[in-house]
Every structure is written in structure tokens, then in C-alpha cells.
């Protein structure tokens, strides 16, 4: 049976790549390929090698940071999960394989085989990046280390998805079957929580002193018994990537392979839970096949009520209907009212806490929310995809609507940009309130107020352009940009995601160049009189130019939308 799976994966991949290469007959795809290869060359190959030692970072510390990052990724998959991606099968695979004479174990094997394609691509990317930084270890050995790390993480994510889905489906009845897994996860979570709480004050103090002090505090915190035990298995899988000589590599590879093998056994023995979990996730992924009786999509029951602020008026801009539809999709399966209440309570609590004691808890929360606001700003445009990246799959319908192309593009982009902006402003509000009572922090309260007001104006525009770039890519290269609500995810796809983020950031920088120059000029001229408050006139100046640029790009993409024909080899996730 393995032969038929290899055949399916190989032919599917070959045909998909061939189809994408055929697009190179079109000049825009060819130009994109040349630019993309040049970009990869600059990012991966042409970067001047920098030794970590020269940068003053010890190898042990790198290992520790990598282990902490891997621990974070693992905890993330347990707490937040991503069943739809981890267990994703296409509707055709569900139709042919699930009722076919295929054992559950073989299905898991097929799933792992498919995952290997993404892992291998990302292993190559990471190897290229890491090999710049290391001497003494061949590229092949480095690639093998990265492959072991990514495969272990991928297996872990799959196993976590099995446990989570099985628990969700069977509730308390499923507990005995997952007792061992849940015990380990609970111990790890408890140890992580205890370690963080124990070291929080020292790490926060280190952070306020500088990066070197922060890293020192982190290293000291990792020396405790609980953190060392907690990080030990993660260091085992990270170590082969971090070592510098073939001898060290050989010694490190044994334990890493053992961890990988244990994960394989853990996942493969889940055969009973796998079929129902994967079928459930895949069928919901293919919404057309959703069980009509349950009305559950993506594992969550849909709320039928429409939030009051999202009622659609009968009159007004026609594009508003598309904005409304996409916003509704974004909030339909999330508890908006509960979230708003929690946000309000957190805001009051943080504001009060910021005035009491040394405000360590409020400060930690403030840095945390600020960091997340930054993460959402950078990564958010790839996460929130209720726009053309989803709707191009229904291009027939969109094209039949009585709307100009530019209206469709702007409405689609507006929805995702609004969701991102709401998220970022909520996080920034919490940050602002967490430092409200802080008298020592620089910049001071007045300047922070000005920055927050500036964010109110600039974030919607910034997000609009960030999402516009993603939508523009989907419109210009529909055969290359995967469409659908799911993006390629997981740690195994981190290399691809990073390249996309950097590429988008470069494009965004190019768009921002002129507005920032204009806004900067206004700021510099008025700064001597108004201080940081000169941001208030500077931001609108920059914003005006950004709006103008946005209008031009939307108009251009609108014309491309009007020329895009359904069936032009859309890349479906």
C-alpha cells in the first residue's frame, strides 16, 4: 500500500510543480521568479557570515534559547492547537482513502509522508541559513539535524492534535485513553508555569537593564532543577543543530533520534483515534461535506446571532456587503462579547495594578501585550485571511457581482485590516494602561499618549497596506499563492513563513518610504516647538500620502481582478 501513497504524493507534487512552472510563460510569473530567486540569494546566500562567538553569544546560550523556543512551540500546539492543518486531508483523499481498503496506520504513514514535503523544503531553507553561521560541520550533517528537529516537532504537533480532538469528541469518557499523555503535558505545563513565576522578577529586571542582562537572567533561571528538567528533552533535539564538530554531532544525534523514534511510536499507536480525528477535521475543512445535523465547522459550534455592531444596513456602499460578510466570518466562531468583557476587566485591573507596588505584574503584562501587538503587526496579515485569499476560490461569484474590481479589492482588504487593527489597538490599550501609573518609564506618559493616538491613525493604514500586499500577491500570482482560509503553518513551515514575512516587510517598507519621509519632515520641523506631540500633525501628513498610494494600488489591482479569469490555475490549500 505504501507504493500507492508514494505514487499519489509523487504524481501530485510533480503535476502541481509542473503546473506552476507552466505559468512561467506569463511574463509576470517569470519576473516574480527572478525576483524571488534574487531575494533568496540575498537573504540566504549573500549575507555576510556572522559568527555567534564574535557577536558575543555563547553556544550554550544559543542552545538554551533554541530549546526555550521549541518548548514554546510545543506548549502552543497543546494550548491553542491547529487540528485543521495538522490533520488536514483533501476532500478527494477523504473520499478515496477513508472508505478504501487502507489501514489506519497506513493513513498515518501517508499523512507523515505528505508532511515530509514541507519539512524537506524548510530543512533546506534552515540549513542554508544556519550553514552561514557555522564552520566545521558539513551541510549534509546540518541538514540531517534540522530534519530531525522539524520532523520531531511535526510529529509532536500531530500527536497533540490527536489528543485534543479525541478529548473534544469524547469529553470525560476519553480521559482514560489519554491519561499518560495528559499527565506528561500537565507536569510540563505546571513546571513551565512554576519556572516562569519563579524567574519572572529577575528576568523582568534583566530586561529593563538591557539585552545582555536579560540573557544572563534567562541563563541563570534555566540553572534551577525544575527548568533544567523541563528543558532537557528539548535540548536533546536542538543540540545536533547547535554543535560545531562531527564528533559532537555523532554524540548528539543518538539521543535526538531516540526522541524522534519515541514520537513516531506515540503517533503511530494513535491509530484508533486517528481516523475519526482526521476525518472529522478534514470533513470540516471541506465545509461542503460538513454534517448537516451538527452545524459545527472547524470543531466549534457556530453562533447564529450577529453582534449588534455588525448589523448590515440595507443602503449604502455596495462594497460594504463584502466587508460585512468578511467581518462576520471573522467573529462568527469567536466569543466576541466574552472577549470584550475580558478585555475591559483586564484593562481596569492593569490600570489599577500599575499604580500599586512596583507594578511588576502590570509591567510584565504590559511588555507581553506590547510584544504581541508587534507580533500581530508583523505576522497578522498572514494569519487573518478572510479576504481575497479566501474569496478567490469563489471567483465566479465575485465576478458576477455588480461591483467594480477596485471596490471588490478595497472591501476585501478592509475587512482583514479592520480585524487586525482592532486586535492591535486592544493590545496597545492594555499596554498603555499597564504602564499608566509608571512614573519612571521613558518615554513619559504624555509621549506615550501621543504614541497611542498616533497608532490610532496609523495602524488602520499600515494594516490596510500589509493586507493589500498579501491580496495583491494572491491576485497577481493565483497559481502560486495558496488560497483558502488555512495557511501553511506549524514550526515545520517556519522557514517559508519567515521568508514571506521578510519579503512582505520589504514591500511595505517601499510603500512607506515616501509617506514616512513626508511625515518625518513635518515631525522634525515641529519637534522643537511641540516635542513628541508633533506626531499629531506628522501622522496625518504621512497618512494622506499613504491613502493616496493605497488608492493607486487598489485601482491597479482592481483592473487585474477584472481581467482575472476563473480556472486560471488557482493554488488551493
Amino acid at each position: 500500500m505504501n507504493g500507492i501513497f508514494h505514487y499519489l504524493v509523487w504524481r501530485t507534487t510533480r503535476n502541481r510543480v509542473a503546473g506552476q512552472l507552466r505559468q512561467l510563460r506569463q511574463p509576470r510569473y517569470l519576473a516574480a521568479l527572478v525576483l524571488g530567486l534574487g531575494y533568496l540569494w540575498v537573504i540566504v546566500v549573500q549575507q555576510r557570515p556572522t559568527s555567534l562567538a564574535a557577536a558575543g553569544v555563547e553556544a550554550g546560550l544559543v542552545e538554551l534559547l533554541a530549546a526555550v523556543a521549541v518548548l514554546g512551540a510545543v506548549l502552543w500546539s497543546w494550548i491553542f492547537g491547529a487540528e485543521r492543518r495538522a490533520l488536514g486531508f483533501t476532500p478527494a483523499e477523504v473520499t478515496f482513502l477513508f472508505p478504501g481498503p487502507v489501514s489506519r496506520r497506513e493513513l498515518i504513514g501517508f499523512k507523515l509522508l505528505k508532511t515530509q514535503l514541507v519539512i524537506l523544503l524548510n530543512a533546506i531553507l534552515w540549513t542554508a541559513v544556519l550553514s552561514r553561521d557555522r564552520a566545521g560541520l558539513s551541510t549534509w550533517l546540518r541538514a540531517a539535524s534540522v530534519w530531525v528537529l522539524l520532523t520531531t516537532l511535526s510529529l509532536h504537533r500531530l500527536g497533540a492534535s490527536f489528543v485534543r480532538t479525541s478529548l473534544r469528541e469524547h469529553g470525560w469518557l476519553g480521559l482514560p485513553h489519554q491519561a499518560a499523555s495528559l499527565f506528561v503535558v500537565t507536569v510540563v505545563l505546571a513546571a513551565a508555569g512554576w519556572s516562569i513565576a519563579d524567574a519572572a522578577t529577575a528576568i523582568a529586571a534583566g530586561w529593563s537593564l538591557g539585552i545582555a542582562e536579560f540573557l544572563g537572567a534567562l541563563r541563570d533561571a534555566a540553572q534551577g532543577t525544575a527548568p533544567r528538567a523541563l528543558l532537557y528533552p528539548f535540548e536533546l533535539v536542538v543540540k545536533p543543530v547547535a554543535v560545531g564538530t562531527p564528533g559532537e554531532w555523532l554524540r548528539a544525534m543518538g539521543p535526538a533520534l531516540l526522541v524522534l523514534a519515541l514520537h513516531y511510536v506515540w503517533v503511530i499507536r494513535w491509530d484508533a483515534a486517528f481516523e475519526e480525528a482526521a476525518a472529522e477535521a478534514s470533513l470540516r475543512r471541506a465545509a461542503a461535506l460538513t454534517d448537516p445535523r451538527t452545524g459545527r465547522i472547524g470543531g466549534r459550534a457556530a453562533s447564529r446571532s450577529t453582534p449588534r455592531f455588525l448589523r448590515l444596513g440595507t443602503k449604502g456602499w455596495s462594497g460594504g456587503a463584502i466587508v460585512w460578510k468578511n467581518l462576520l466570518a471573522a467573529v462568527r466562531f469567536r466569543r466576541v462579547r466574552g472577549g470584550a468583557i475580558a478585555l475591559g476587566l483586564a484593562a481596569v485591573l492593569l490600570a489599577v495594578l500599575s499604580f500599586y507596588g512596583e507594578g511588576t505584574l502590570a509591567e510584565l503584562a504590559g511588555w507581553f501585550t506590547l510584544t504581541w501587538a508587534g507580533v500581530v503587526l508583523v505576522v497578522g496579515p498572514q494569519w487573518v485571511r478572510n479576504d481575497l485569499r479566501s474569496d478567490l476560490l469563489m471567483l465566479d461569484l465575485l465576478r458576477a457581482y455588480p461591483l467594480r474590481g477596485s471596490t471588490v479589492v478595497s472591501a476585501e482588504v478592509m475587512a482583514s485590516a479592520s480585524v487586525l487593527t482592532a486586535l492591535q489597538l486592544s493590545l496597545l490599550l492594555l499596554t498603555f494602561l499597564a504602564f499608566l501609573g509608571n512614573q519612571t518609564l521613558e518615554p513619559g506618559l504624555g509621549a506615550r499618549s501621543a504614541l497611542f493616538l498616533g497608532a490610532l491613525v496609523s495602524l488602520p493604514l499600515l494594516n490596510f497596506h500589509s493586507v493589500l500586499i498579501q491580496n495583491g500577491a494572491a491576485l497577481l500570482f493565483p497559481a502560486w499563492v495558496p488560497l483558502g482560509r488555512d495557511r501553511a503553518g506549524g514550526v515545520e513551515a517556519l522557514g517559508q513563513s519567515m521568508l514571506l514575512i521578510i519579503g512582505s516587510a520589504v514591500l511595505l517598507s517601499a510603500i512607506l518610504l515616501l509617506p514616512l519621509a513626508a511625515g518625518g519632515a513635518v515631525f522634525l520641523v515641529l519637534r522643537t516647538h511641540l516635542g513628541l506631540w508633533s506626531l499629531i500633525p506628522a501622522v496625518p501628513a504621512a497618512a494622506g500620502l499613504l491613502v493616496l498610494e493605497g488608492a493607486v494600488i487598489v485601482r491597479w489591482l482592481g483592473r487585474i481582478f477584472e481581467r482575472t479569469e476563473p480556472g486560471a490555475g488557482l493554488a488551493v490549500n
Binding site: P292, L312, T314, A321, K325, L328, A329, F333, M394, R563
Partner: protein, 244 residues
């Protein structure tokens, strides 16, 4: 009124539609028939503004689709063979969405009536994932009818409907035509075409083989006198003898 003049559509070097011209007046139901790959869907998608003709002109309710696409599409309803629905919108929300899109006045008053007409009144709060194939099709049709279009393009509209639904849908199409809509209906169900279409357009290899009432088409071929549309169709596309 739907007017098509010298419509050509090429996919690369492959001609999908070649020199097609016809018009459908208010109150008319034109049946578009032809074997697989004849160019029916390409014709309908060109008229719906989904794909751009390589050559030719299309006018909907007097508006040139190439020059003035928004008013042209405002007068048009397109119901595809596969119902494309938004998985996060309920049945009623789909209609509200379409109402805003087409600027339908008094949409709140129209929705209950159209849900009743499509037998979806009890499913107004359901998501597409909770609907059967036939119900999804009915919802897609309801979305098409909400703005009382002057021109309707129906691509295999009865797919997935049960016998009662088929009967109701046929009555709906006829009623809309009688109310003044110009309707183009593409279908492989020749008895349906024969039953509700006022004229028939037979396509093969992207070219028009015949256009007229069934009686007119039969009259043009003495050897087919008195034969049903199915046999006329098979004879015209060259399968009459071998398959009989």
C-alpha cells in the same frame, strides 16, 4: 433583454465559442443545449461577466457589459450549476448580503416571501453546512431572484432538487419570465428545455447549430418531422444514427 453579438472566446488557441449571436427578449426563456464541451458554460459565464469575451459584444437591459459592467450586472442574476455559498453566513444573511450588494429596496420585506417561495422559511438561521445539496441550490436561486432581475442566467438549475422542488422551480422560472425577465437556461435535461423554454439554441464545438422554437428547428429538417427534441438534438450534433 439579453443581446449577444458575434461572441468569440478563445482559451489559448482553443476556440470555446465562435461567432455566437442571439437575443433573448423580455418574457422569453431560451434553452441552451449542447453536448459536453459545446460552449454552453463559456457562453453563460461570458454573459454573466465572469470571463471576458475574446471578441463580440454583450448587452444586458441595454447596458454594454464591456463598457458599463456595473449597471449591466445590476440587472442580471447568475445561478451557477454548483451553489457557491459563504460557509459563515446563514440563509437569511446570504439574502441580506445580496440585498445590499444589489441595493434592493425593502429587502427585509422581500426576504420572508422569497424564503417561502424556495421552501427555506424554516431554515433561515441555518449555515450552508447544515443544508442538503438541494437546499443549497434553492438558496443560490433565492439569492439570484431577490433583486427581481431583468435577465436571468441559470446553469443546470435543477441539479440536486427533489421532484417537488423541480416542479416549483419550473413554475418559478416561468413566472419570472411572464413577469418580464429574459431567461437563459442551460441544461442537459432536454424534456425540461422542451417543457419550459420558448426557444432553443443548440451549440456544438462553440458554434450555433440551430436557434428557434422546437417546431421551427424541426421544420428546418424534413427528416425529423414529429420527432421529440432529444432526437432532433442528437441528429443535429451527428449522433442520431449511430446511437439510435
Amino acid at each position: 433583454m439579453i443581446e449577444v453579438e458575434a461572441l468569440h472566446k478563445l482559451y489559448g488557441d482553443l476556440p470555446a465559442v465562435q461567432g455566437l449571436s442571439f437575443r433573448v427578449g423580455p418574457g422569453e426563456v431560451l434553452g441552451l443545449v449542447g453536448p459536453n464541451g459545446a460552449g454552453k458554460t463559456t457562453t453563460i459565464r461570458s454573459i454573466a461577466g465572469i470571463i471576458r469575451p475574446t471578441q463580440g459584444r454583450i448587452r444586458i437591459a441595454g447596458h454594454d457589459l464591456g463598457v458599463d459592467p456595473v449597471p449591466a450586472k445590476m440587472a442580471l442574476a447568475f445561478v451557477p450549476d454548483e451553489p457557491h455559498l459563504f460557509e459563515y453566513l446563514t440563509v437569511e444573511e446570504h439574502l441580506r448580503f445580496v440585498g445590499r450588494l444589489y441595493q434592493v429596496p425593502e429587502v427585509a420585506q422581500r426576504i420572508p416571501a422569497i424564503l417561502e417561495e424556495m421552501e427555506l422559511a424554516a431554515r433561515g438561521g441555518a449555515l450552508p453546512g447544515e443544508l442538503s445539496r438541494g437546499m443549497k441550490q434553492k438558496l443560490a436561486i433565492a439569492c439570484g431572484l431577490l433583486h427581481s432581475p431583468k435577465a436571468m442566467l441559470l446553469d443546470e438549475p435543477l441539479t440536486g432538487l427533489d421532484p417537488i422542488g423541480i416542479r416549483r422551480m419550473k413554475a418559478t422560472i416561468v413566472r419570472r419570465a411572464e413577469a418580464g425577465a429574459a431567461v437563459i437556461l442551460s441544461s442537459h435535461l432536454l424534456h425540461l428545455v422542451e417543457e419550459i423554454c420558448t426557444r432553443v439554441l443548440i451549440l456544438n464545438h462553440g458554434r450555433m447549430l440551430a436557434l428557434g422554437t422546437v417546431g421551427e428547428i424541426v421544420a428546418a429538417r424534413a427528416d425529423l418531422a414529429g420527432r421529440p427534441l432529444e432526437e432532433v438534438f442528437l441528429a443535429l450534433i451527428g449522433h442520431g444514427e449511430s446511437d439510435a
